[in-house]
Amino acid sequence: MSTEERATKAGRTRPTTMTVATVVAGTVIFLLLAIPLAVQVITAFRGPFLPFGVSSARWSVDNFVTLWGLREDFWAVLGSTAAFVGGSTVLSLLMAFGLAWVTVRTDAPFRRVISLLVIVPFIVPPIVKAQAYLLMLSPESGVLNQLIHLVPGMSEVTIDPYSFSTMIVIQSLTNVTFPYLMIVPILTGMDGSLEESARVSGASWGQTLRRVTLPMLWPGLLGVTVLTFILGLGSLEVPLLFGQESGKSIFALKLWTLISAGAGELPQYGLAAAWGCVFLVITTIAFVIYLRATRDAERRASISGKGFRPTTMKLGGWRIPVLLAILVFTLLTAVLPLFALLWSAITPYPLAFSLDALRTQTQFGAFGEVLADGEFWASLGRTLIIAGGSATIACGAATVLAYGIARSRATGWTRSMDLFASSSVAIPAVIAGFAMFLTFMVINPVIPLAGTIAALVIAYSYRVSIAYRAGYSATLQIRKELEEAAVISGASRLEGFRRIVAPLLAPTVFAVWIQMFILGTNEFTLPAFLATPESRPLSVYMYAMINPRSAQLYAPDQGAAMALIFTLLVFAIGYGLQWLVSLRAIGRASRRVRVVEVASDALAAPPAVEATDAPDTRSVAVQEVRELSRR
């Protein structure tokens, strides 16, 4: 049998262990996504409160009839949500693209510092961030309005924190980091030769951006846009704190209001589920449109091989205005919110900032009280367990399934599974939280998970498609011949996956794990539906501290101190993990040099200089194949 025939056969008949692993991974993802959504649909058709176990539960379309009766309300919700989420998405993308461009493609000074500061808003839990903005924007006492009043001619200008437009800007500022983190690799990976050609041909930077750069980037940017939009759609925090008047028709707040009981009534879970179903259809349509729009994205791929390098734009006279713009951005997203939190932490109750208050009212006891608070450490521990556990489940299941699907022949089944595993990005967090909440209640008689840490781990894992898409793309970049060589050398498909593919995928998987971990540490929407005092993560405990509705737990100074300590901790953990990754990469690079030396002797490999330029993954693969060949 020729090598080609053997390889083809190996591709067709996969050993049982790998199939089982793929089926298990697929089942995990199916259970994670399908059951909650099914329960939500059932709830929409089974009446006003719970779908099972109560006398009012019966099959009907009443909730959809009610929704139709509220169609004017529905259009208002649709319009308000589109304006809020659309507006904030556009603003976020513009800022994120600008920041990414400056840090990746220009010679601006302090680029590393800027890229660090952009990360800060990502770490602070969104509900605390929203509260910080509320403090910062108070009409008279807020530090931002006070600063504006100091500007000559602007003493009468006051930002209204509760206006719809302010809410859009705040939402966009709090969400910049997410698109930024996604745009940076797109810009980093873009080949600059086409832009250089345009420049050589006489195009200005503006023309080059419009006619070369953006057309090349648009599939990637469209993906970022869709994800940012869906993220915004599911965010409850800003509408909750700012939008009780102007933003009450925003979908996330509408859903939240429906599941909160009115006077003498029970919550309207059925109607909320019907709303959720309709919005789910809308986001699914958006997601499918995105998939269709980007299906030929490969044709626009511009990362080339060894000659690849991004061009650097010299800012020249624009250096000062750009730095000023970044300074304002940093002021608005990091410095002032953190200052507002600090001020809140060192004052005994909410006070307007003044030098007199600074002199007479400040104290630092809240930090000590937080550090001595057992519940702070307990909820911090739960946060790490929930974020780490869910990131591990999502990355593990997604990587195995992504490999299984990417290496399978394209059939209706694999295409469906691919679409399904990718679909959780289309589920806004507020819908996922509500669906999980219903699910855990419904299955509680058989599987008593409601209110437990395990329930939160499962719920947080619903973002599995982030890991799946990353794993799928990374698998496609690994040449199939490596595994086939392992199989030919006697390894099973599972062993080939474990010893060849997994190490090659590890950097991508770990990077996604860190991202999901950080996303998990500051998650608020999901635990808002699911957590109890025994299982609550720190974000919920912090919210209890800053929310007057908590009465006996209300301690805004400790809540703010907790937020600052937590921000520092997550920052340290996030960068600590990245540092570990760097160490591993350095270790791998050292091994690579050794492998190249051996390989050039034994296998008469390509010239050393070429081998040294090859990516990490390739040299690790060479090493693994050689080890397997020796067996």
């Binding site: 089926v23 176990g53 006077a263 003498g264 509680n444 009465a551």
Partner: protein, 389 residues
């Protein structure tokens, strides 16, 4: 992947799902059990009654009633620690602070309390737990209005509190199984450094209050007392005018702008903010309501629930701490049927709140009763619609 395997797996999953769902269709057991006091109960004491608005105060409560209640509590404790492993689940409007639990455990160390704060979702959580087989709360709590769903669904277990020494006069506002434990009511919270509160909600329409007043979207009940006095139409019209004039803002967090002075009047209930510039003021046609505790028919530790309810409502050592120790300033104001000497020792925030609520009652505040409950609910929903759309 093998199509047959996939199909088989899908069918198996669907079957498991249907099985899970069908197993959830249980209905709540009927016929709540009666809870009996320890032997030779009943004191024969007579309440030295003083009318305080709609409430009846027993000035001799601690002399003539408390000793029997205390004796019954000792017996309940012995039963409670042997029931459900001494576990006691208390879901309340607010989550109990660790300090509160520590005070309870100082007297009853063998009971382990689990707590949740659920505000308006307390009734749905109780009904959901029963419907889905989860560990339910042992203690029920709420006002006549906020607990209406639990009352209508028959969740208050039949306890004759008079058999445990509680004066019959305390049990007239609500159903006999509902033990009154505290009071609350609508108040104007005011930052006195910035503004003085007017005497009525109508007065807020004066131009100087434009943009100065806030209310939380979940708190339309603030207007219900006005509705009880002036009628629904007048109430809805007032809310409309307050909103259209720019006077009233609907905020999730009223506390920060109140404390900083940006929005110096908050229509709310009792005050939790220690800022000395803040005051709580009664106003005309405010609503005052009793809050109740009781035993959940679905409770796993009924003696524990009764013990908690009695301790929290009436234990003199605990109430003295609540009245004087700032750590407990944010607990609810005790029931006005208790002797006036209890309220006279109040300090700090507790004094601010107790004085304001008692003043409200003295001024003729509207009070929720069993007979007017549905009217209150209708008015609160009308106020909600006018406030939130």
């Amino acid at each position: 992947m093998n199509v047959r395997t996939v199909r088989g797996g899908t069918i198996a999953l669907a079957a498991v799902g249907m099985l899970l769902l069908s197993s959830c269709s249980s209905s709540r057991s009927e016929a709540p059990s009666a809870l009996e006091p320890a032997a030779d109960a009943a004191t024969g004491a007579t309440c030295d009654a003083v009318e305080v608005g709609a409430f009846t105060r027993c000035e001799n409560f601690y002399e003539d009633f408390w000793p029997e209640i205390d004796r019954q509590m000792d017996a309940l404790y012995e039963q409670a620690k042997e029931t459900d492993g001494g576990r006691l689940v208390v879901w309340d409007w607010y989550e109990l602070a660790p300090e509160v639990i520590a005070e309870f455990n100082a007297r009853y160390p063998d009971l382990e309390i689990e707590t949740r704060g659920l505000t308006y979702n307390l009734p749905s959580a109780v009904i959901s737990a029963e419907a889905t087989g989860g560990r339910n709360t042992d203690v029920l709590s709420g006002s006549l209005l906020s607990a209406a769903a639990m009352t209508d669904e028959g969740y208050w277990d039949e306890v004759d509190w008079t058999q445990f020494g509680v004066p019959e006069e305390f049990l007239r506002l609500g159903a006999p199984e509902m033990l009154p434990d505290s009071m609350n009511g609508s108040l104007m919270q005011v930052n006195t450094d910035r503004i003085e509160a007017p005497a009525s909600l109508d007065d807020l329409l004066a131009p100087e209050f434009e943009g100065k007043v806030s209310i939380a979207n979940y708190n339309p009940i603030v207007f219900s007392g006005y509705g009880m006095a002036e009628g629904e139409d007048a109430m809805v019209e007032l809310i409309g005018e307050l909103k259209s004039s720019g006077t009233l803002q609907v905020l999730e967090d009223q506390n920060s702008p109140l404390s900083s002075g940006d929005v110096p009047i908050a229509l709310n209930q009792t005050l939790f903010n220690p800022n000395p510039s803040l005051a709580a003021r009664p106003f005309d046609h405010s609503g005052v309501f009793a809050q109740f505790s009781g035993v959940n028919v679905d409770a796993a530790n009924k003696p524990g629930a009764m013990l908690w309810a009695l301790w929290n409502a009436y234990d003199p050592t605990w109430l003295e701490l609540r009245m004087t120790d700032e750590r407990f300033a944010t607990t609810q104001v005790p029931y006005p049927g208790l002797p006036s000497s209890l309220f006279e020792q109040a300090t700090g925030l507790m004094k601010t709140n107790a004085d304001a609520l008692l003043q409200s009652i003295e001024n003729g505040a509207e009070t929720e009763t069993e007979a007017t409950r549905d009217e209150w609910i209708a008015l609160t929903n009308a106020a909600d619609a006018a406030l939130n759309g």
